[in-house]
């Protein structure tokens, strides 16, 4: 194991990008307003590795697919997840399907970095957390780091993976700091991280809900409720074994997921438990999610909507005492 230092989540992402660009000349960056990066540590890669694009998300996402088909490994910065709808066809119909459609002739090693901006009064058109849409769209891998180490490691793996990977970066965590290994530190896909072991309730948490879940678990420990906190880290592929194994031991499941409720990631994990761990379940499954409303602008309205430490703790208590 190499040395670790404290980095922020945002710094870890840049470190991963710079390492991968240094390691592999076929890695390029595409995104709006990224020309500014050439002033910083990216300068060494020269202008042919950084494509600062017009406001044409559909065009340059499709372009990334074409580049990936022909020998490059583009990293596309899609800034704000609520802009993904503009680029849905190249993501879902092209990137996700081309390998299958061509009978395996194609590979599409592209990474789509999608910022999750929510909780900052960005309002309805800039605050979505649409990863469930891509979980329902076969052919795309979906990663969501919740720590600086995972932000670096999942991005490194994403770049090296031969399939299209959508990596959702929770901007609420941008300034969170944590230990990150120096040098190569890829995090395998399909392996959940057990942040905290526990025996009473399995608490699966995603993105910034991990932070809230860990804080809730601290509170609950003081009340005598032992909570196992698990972050799947990749939603496609999903580490069913770790999740279901935990539920089989604890008999209780709470899922904290900042996506909207209906057909969200929490729905999938709850359904899995009801199918595959039914005999072990000793209480109803509980979802702590964002309700199905367009995100309001006013902080007075918005701040109440996402899974919070309090809301998660309440759900765990309900389930634990059931």
């Amino acid at each position: 194991m190499s040395e670790t230092r404290e980095l922020s989540y945002a710094e870890a992402i840049h470190e991963a990008q710079i390492l991968e660009m240094g390691r592999d000349a076929s890695v390029i960056l595409i995104g709006e307003d990224i020309h500014g990066l050439t002033l910083g540590p990216y300068a060494e890669f020269g202008p042919e590795r950084l494509w600062s694009a017009p406001i044409s998300e559909s065009g340059f996402t499709g372009m990334a697919v074409g580049a990936a088909l022909t020998g490059l490994r583009p990293i596309v910065d899609l800034l704000i997840s609520s802009l993904l709808y503009v680029a849905m066809d190249p993501l879902v119909n092209q990137a996700g399907k081309l390998r299958a459609m061509t009978g395996g002739q194609a590979k599409v090693p592209a990474v789509f970095r999608c910022g999750l901006w929510h909780g900052s009064s960005y309002a309805a058109q800039h605050s979505d957390r649409p990863y469930p849409l891509f979980m329902n769209s076969p052919g795309l891998k979906v990663a969501i780091p919740a720590t600086p180490a995972d932000a670096k490691g999942l991005l490194q793996t994403a770049v090296r993976d031969d399939d299209p990977v959508m990596i959702f970066e929770d901007r609420n965590l941008a300034h969170e700091r944590g230990p990150v290994c120096e040098g190569d530190a890829p995090v395998p896909f399909g392996q959940a991280r057990v942040h905290r072991e526990g025996s009473d309730v399995t608490l699966v948490a995603i993105a910034s809900a991990v932070r809230e879940a860990l804080a809730a678990a601290d509170d609950l420990a003081r009340e005598g409720i032992s909570v196992e906190v698990i972050d799947p880290r990749t939603l496609v592929p999903l580490d069913r074994e770790t999740l279901l194994g935990s539920v089989r031991r604890t008999g209780r499941l709470v899922v904290a997921d900042p996506a909207h409720r209906t057909c969200g990631a929490a729905a999938e994990i709850a359904a899995l438990a009801a199918e595959e761990a039914f005999d072990a379940l000793r209480a109803p499954v509980a979802r702590v999610t964002t309700p199905d409303v367009p995100i309001p602008f006013s902080p007075a309205l918005e701040s109440k909507l996402y899974p919070s430490q309090q809301g998660i703790a309440d759900a765990v208590r309900r389930v634990a005492r059931y």
Partner: protein, 329 residues
């Protein structure tokens, strides 16, 4: 060219001052964190907003973009509910649901801004189509930036409006940049208006710092659209003095101070003030009074906004659907 009447020339200056004073205050409030979320000021672009909107009829409609405080103000909105919206209050024009990027004021025909670049353009086409089907002679104007002209919606919308000769004006406020990206870096043409040829519609470049010039080309295109002769692409050359979004820490490396200074020398409020003085429509005191009054209106709007209550939590749930049932849980 349809030239504006004297009262209108004075009213233009008033509305430009409203836009300027409103946005100056909004920027202050953003820096003071009394406004949350991004604020994209129109300061420097007032002549484009006001010249265009005042060439329209009251029942004409508009769609905006992320940089659209100025459009409803130019169209005649009351400032109180707009400012209350920026503060996220229950009395906001959108009840606190929209905020700076999503102002909408249906009472003046402002159908809403969109935070998604380019997305308002087809909506304007729909409003034009609707006027046609409903048999009114309203028109709709879509405001968008130079950056938006590289978006697929721009192309699809211009084609749709062209083939059906819909009463729509496509109004590009070309301020030379999309965030930190210059027009030259992102756009295959120098004048966005060149692209009109691909749709066989008029493409007109106008000095966006000159409210009267903007008024004139807009009024002409509006008359054309209203007469069933089809859409136009208008391009106002303008500039934003401030950052793309204030208070977000966006670096300023992409343009130099001299460029900003050059544009400040062609300030739309100064240019129009001079016109009013030259034509003896106002004296200096009168011109100053307009500014003072606008600032006072903004102060009153802010007082109103500050006094207003926060929205009730239930509000977010109540506005999802018009026909009840199925809202969030």
């Amino acid at each position: 060219m349809p030239t504006p009447r004297p009262e209108l020339l004075i009213e233009m200056q008033r509305r430009m001052w409203r836009v300027r004073a409103f946005d100056e205050r909004a920027v202050e409030l953003r820096h003071a964190r009394e406004i949350h979320g991004p604020v994209h000021p129109s300061i420097g672009q007032e002549a484009a907003c006001v010249g265009a909107c005042m060439a329209l009829r009251e029942d004409d409609t508009l769609t905006g973009n992320h940089r659209s405080h100025g459009h409803p103000i130019a169209k005649g909105s009351e400032l109180g509910p707009l400012m209350a919206e920026l503060l996220g209050k229950a009395t906001g024009v959108c009840g606190g649901m929209g905020g700076s990027m999503h102002l909408a004021d249906f009472s003046v025909g402002s159908l809403g801004e969109t935070g998604i670049v380019g997305a308002g353009i087809p909506i304007a086409v729909g409003a034009g189509l609707s006027a046609r089907v409903r048999g009114t002679d309203q028109i709709c104007i879509a405001f968008f930036g130079d950056g938006a002209s590289n978006h697929g919606t721009f192309h699809e919308s211009l084609n749709l409006a062209a083939i059906w000769k819909l009463p729509v004006l496509f109004f590009c406020e070309n301020n030379g940049y999309a965030a930190t990206t210059s027009l030259a870096r992102a756009t295959s043409v120098e004048d966005v208006a060149e692209r009109a040829a691909g749709y066989r519609m008029p493409g007109v470049v106008v000095d966006g710092q000159d409210a009267v010039a903007v008024y004139e080309v807009t009024a002409e295109a509006a008359a054309r659209a209203r007469a069933g002769e089809g859409p136009s692409l208008l391009e106002a050359k303008t500039y934003r003095y401030l950052e793309h979004a204030e208070g977000e820490g966006i670096p300023g490396f992409y343009r130099d101070a001299a460029e900003i200074e050059r544009w400040r020398q062609r300030d739309p409020l100064e240019i129009h003030r001079q016109l009013l003085l030259d034509r003896n429509l106002l004296d200096a005191a009168g011109a100053d009074r307009i500014e003072r009054e606008a600032r006072a209106e903004v102060d009153a709007a802010l007082a109103f906004a500050r006094e207003s209550a926060e929205p009730e939590p239930r509000a977010a749930f109540d506005v999802v659907f018009a026909n009840s049932g199925g809202s969030g849980t």
